[in-house]
């Protein structure tokens, strides 16, 4: 085979293009087309494989079955979150994405954060979203859920940003034998070499929660206090905003059709 055809740069470029195209096909554009929908998912899958291959070529992105599985869950359901027409489905897909993210955090050794993500996000924040959806969602698919603003430009922007990030992440290992971040870290702490590094990683896993709590309430005590005050302020603030009573009498006849020609006459007011 022609090796130039599979150069990592070209692979990355085609993955970026496919990502943009797939996202654009998936995003709501006003007309529902099942074949475009499936084509979008297919292109997204191919692009993901392209990113994995390009990352491998660029700097040996390794694989591990558990990590691949949970990250795939997180990514696929994250995509479904932003392309679902119904916001309720978006919220449910987001819960699945949170499960994937929690798995990634567990693989990374952050046990407390993995559990806290599930408890705080999926247990509290997401339920709050669902409650608001129940209060506010009109029945059926709203028109503004079936179109998106500038889907092509946004998809291209996101894909290009992703390509640049993959490029820089893949470059991390292409540098000198000692990776730069590690060199920086060891230079900053004046600790030599990788044996202490491995020991530090071990120390992250052993007695995890106790040591994390010690760090949190030792070095970062002031920040914890500030976070507590922030929570209190948010609580009082949201109650104050919502209990200010009914908003002023609303002229729904005006507001319900702000997108049609009837509002053109008000342009002169500004």
């Amino acid at each position: 085979m022609n090796p130039a055809l599979f150069s990592p740069g070209l692979l990355l470029a085609s993955a970026v293009t496919l990502t943009a195209l797939g996202l654009w096909l998936l995003l709501p554009r006003g007309s529902e087309n099942r074949s475009a929908w499936w084509l979008g998912w297919l292109l997204g899958a191919v692009a993901l494989a392209g990113f994995v291959c390009a990352g491998k070529r660029l700097g040996g992105i390794g694989e591990e079955a558990v990590f691949l599985t949970v990250s795939l869950v997180a990514i696929v359901s994250g995509t479904a979150t932003i392309v679902s027409r119904s916001p309720v489905y978006s919220a449910i897909w987001f819960a699945l994405s949170l499960a994937g993210v929690a798995g990634v955090l567990l693989v990374l050794g952050a046990q407390f954060l993995g559990v806290a993500t599930i408890v705080v996000y999926a247990g509290a924040i997401l339920v709050m979203f669902l409650f608001v959806l129940m209060l506010a969602q009109p029945s059926g698919l709203a028109s503004y859920d079936r179109v998106s603003s500038e889907p092509l430009l946004s998809a291209v922007t996101g894909a290009v940003l992703l390509g640049l990030l993959t490029l820089s992440i893949g470059r991390l290992s292409v540098g000198p034998a000692t990776p730069e971040p590690l060199a920086l870290a060891s230079a900053a702490s004046d600790s030599p070499a990788t044996s202490s590094h491995a020991a530090a990683i071990d120390s992250l896993v052993k007695n995890h929660v106790a040591r994390l709590g010690g760090e949190l309430f030792g070095r970062h005590l002031l920040a914890v206090e500030a976070a507590g005050v922030l929570l209190l302020v948010a609580l009082i603030g949201s109650i104050a905003i919502v209990s200010r009573g009914e908003p002023d009498v609303v002229d729904h006849s005006l507001d319900l059709q702000p997108l049609t020609a009837t509002k053109q006459s008000q342009g002169g007011r500004r």
């Binding site: 992105i61 932003i82 954060l113 993500t117 979203f129 998106s148 500038e150 992250l204």
Partner: protein, 147 residues
């Protein structure tokens, strides 16, 4: 898995999640989906922070993620209250319903004429209406012993 490929994998996942959230918040017009996309971006950042924390072997990244969780909870509470108030005023969760707040030099969002929903009608399970005696199939009733 040694630490550098793991770092790269996790950073890639974080980047992908961040980009997905970015695209979502740029394109979607439902306010609630926009906030879900913002949370998705926060998830991507959290994964990256934890990956760096693991790589450097210190606690800074994880502690920062705990504060991200706190701020996200506060943000969601305040933002959802605002979304509810906005819904009470306009009757819709559309971000474009507030486009009179835009810069005067920008053009207004004009809704395209949407085709009627051409998805397939939902297929409900067929039940015989309550109170109506179902049609008796004589062949079947003959073969039944008793009901």
């Amino acid at each position: 898995m040694t630490s550098l490929p793991l770092l790269q994998n996790a950073l890639s996942v974080g980047a992908i999640l961040f980009v997905l959230g970015l695209v979502g918040i740029l394109t979607r017009r439902n306010l609630i989906v926009m906030f879900l996309s913002a949370e998705l971006m926060l998830q991507g950042v959290s994964v990256s922070l934890v990956a760096w924390s693991r790589f450097h072997g210190d606690w800074g990244g994880q502690v920062l993620v705990i504060f991200i969780l706190t701020v996200a909870a506060c943000e969601a509470a305040i933002a959802l209250v605002f979304v509810l108030q906005a819904f009470a005023r306009t009757g819709r969760l559309d971000a474009a319903a507030w486009q009179s707040l835009r810069e005067s030099s920008l053009s207004r969002v004009v809704d395209q004429q949407l085709p009627s929903i051409d998805t397939l009608p939902p297929v409900w399970p067929t039940l015989s209406p309550a109170g109506v005696l179902p049609q008796a199939d004589e062949n079947e009733t003959l073969q039944r012993e008793h009901v």
